[in-house]
Symmetry: C2
Subunit: 389 residues, 2 copies
Amino acid sequence: MENFVYQNRTKVIFGEKKYLEIIHYLNQNKINKILIIYGKNAIKKIGLYDEITNLFSENSIEFYELSGVQSNPILSKVHEGIELVKKNNVELILAIGGGSVIDTAKAVSIGALYDGDVWDFYERKEEINSKLPLYVILTLSATGSEVNGRSVITNTEKKLKWSVRSEILYPEISFIDPSLQYEVTGNQLIDSACDIISHVLEFYFDNTQNSLLMDEISEGIIRTVMISTEKLLENSKDYNYRSQFSWAASLALNEMLNCGKNGGDWSSHKIEHALSAYNDISHGKGLAIILPAWMKYVYKFNSQKFQRFAEKIFGITEKDELKSSLIGIQELQNWFKKIGQTIYLNEIEIKEEELKTIAKIAEKQLPYGNIKKLNFFDIIEILKLAYKN
Amino acid sequence: MENFVYQNRTKVIFGEKKYLEIIHYLNQNKINKILIIYGKNAIKKIGLYDEITNLFSENSIEFYELSGVQSNPILSKVHEGIELVKKNNVELILAIGGGSVIDTAKAVSIGALYDGDVWDFYERKEEINSKLPLYVILTLSATGSEVNGRSVITNTEKKLKWSVRSEILYPEISFIDPSLQYEVTGNQLIDSACDIISHVLEFYFDNTQNSLLMDEISEGIIRTVMISTEKLLENSKDYNYRSQFSWAASLALNEMLNCGKNGGDWSSHKIEHALSAYNDISHGKGLAIILPAWMKYVYKFNSQKFQRFAEKIFGITEKDELKSSLIGIQELQNWFKKIGQTIYLNEIEIKEEELKTIAKIAEKQLPYGNIKKLNFFDIIEILKLAYKN
């Protein structure tokens, strides 16, 4: 097992309507002025916006708003938020939404206390030392951003989707009410499921051998997500499976799965970030396309682990390591397809001649790759595997 | 899934010799005066005592010592520690040891800031509001006390072994170096394994049905502990399996397994506390005796879960819920026996006529029991099942 340091400061408050307790925590910390960050209309449609803003009005909490955060959240929106905070002396950021909103809120929370351009943190020019306090009301379980110190932002001018990670970035409190996600159905649900499973697998498939406990927990999370997704596709308002799905998403990326590993292999994510910076497809869909292609490209470098995956997730008993590895990868793709996911680049509007352009964007974040260190040509090959039908 | 609040503030620093970084953290927090709490000679034998105290001397850290903490740690030792702290204006408690030492250190850390008798907290007469900072260097993985807010102390005068639990009691930092446990072999290792498995199962077997994710993770932890224990009984210095074992012990009782559950059952623990307060056998041995007896007494009230246990841990495919439940319990007992554990009360020096006395001690902490709420007569029946060979 590799050495590690693990601490997760976020307080998770889980359950129906538990977010109403936010007033208690704001009062306790003497917070009177907050910036609410959210997406488009989803939180208005489910009545959450009115409920929360009325609550604040009744309790004399002054609030400002930054709305319109899109998936693959962008830097210019972050700048807008920072300006609002600075102009109004906001004391706390409240993200109401999923990963994009939370990642934006994290960027705002560090940018608000920094004189330069917040993008400096993403370019590693500057180290994160402080942030405004950050609370979250989660409305989409997928990225785990509610319980970790990561933020991914797209710089549209530069066509770059880059990430930061810091102990400082953990939200102080995250309210998770699974019933807020009853309207998360269809593609949004499917994409989320693929996102979560990818997160787990990016930790799971690395070059460490001695990771029995983390393997066991990872497999348990994946099986839970698969079962819950199928149940939710049948009945999106099943509170139990919503809960299992939500909490699995959080545990998938609360950094626990990295304990004793060496950081996982996030190649699929890096390549997907290039793909979605270029094409603006959803992160989950991008991952469902890139992850199996990457797996097919690297499985030979740790086939023992790929065989274990095939056995523990899909019950494959094939003795030959390489064969069972490939069957396992195929089964994963079959499952993505079964739940209605896109699994090849041909199915979205990408032409074969564009692969090189995407690879060039992905190349900018090199070096990466842990099972196999990738170069430009590897990325091209992976994209070809993602293209081929 | 039940509502929950989860936050674990403890920073875990895991790896060989990582505890040497303690100086960095003491300096960072401007701590100059500490109380070291430890057990008997174990930390001297492995050279850890000299290494740490030399390190403190070299770095001008003033330290006091409370040694001789025994398993089933006692209140009078806690009082001694509190006196040392108050007399010398100690700023931080450092526990070097396993659960007993850490639990003692926790008690000292709260008692040091309280004017009355620290036992008041254990009797629920007083609420825990503050403690001195607490660091841990773990030398025995079993109770999970290094990553939670629980403390169990025995009041020898009153023959009571009672526990407290509070968010305040989480250690600030726990250093886990699995190689410090190379000398933990034989009974000590076996008892620890039984302790860990019991912790997991006390959460696992409760009256909640909707706990898929926690069930998966619990089962993964149990399988890891079983495999690691067998490997360590063959080679106690296998760093990988020491690590798996250590980290599994921490995750078993860092409160994560309670997320979405309703607190677990813990009847076995309560009865065992009575047993070990009466007889001073090790907690792990006591649990290996009481837990299966309790399981045999209550399985009918949640046989679906007991069947799942039999299947996921021992591969039992018996379709009949009651039958498979009983086979699973028997298999657990067989495994305890296989690793060399005591499994019946007859094997220790307890006579049948003493069962009533033990039950009377266990009765003092009633009400408990979640699958089945227990009364005095239930406790007697469980003890009889633990007695019968």
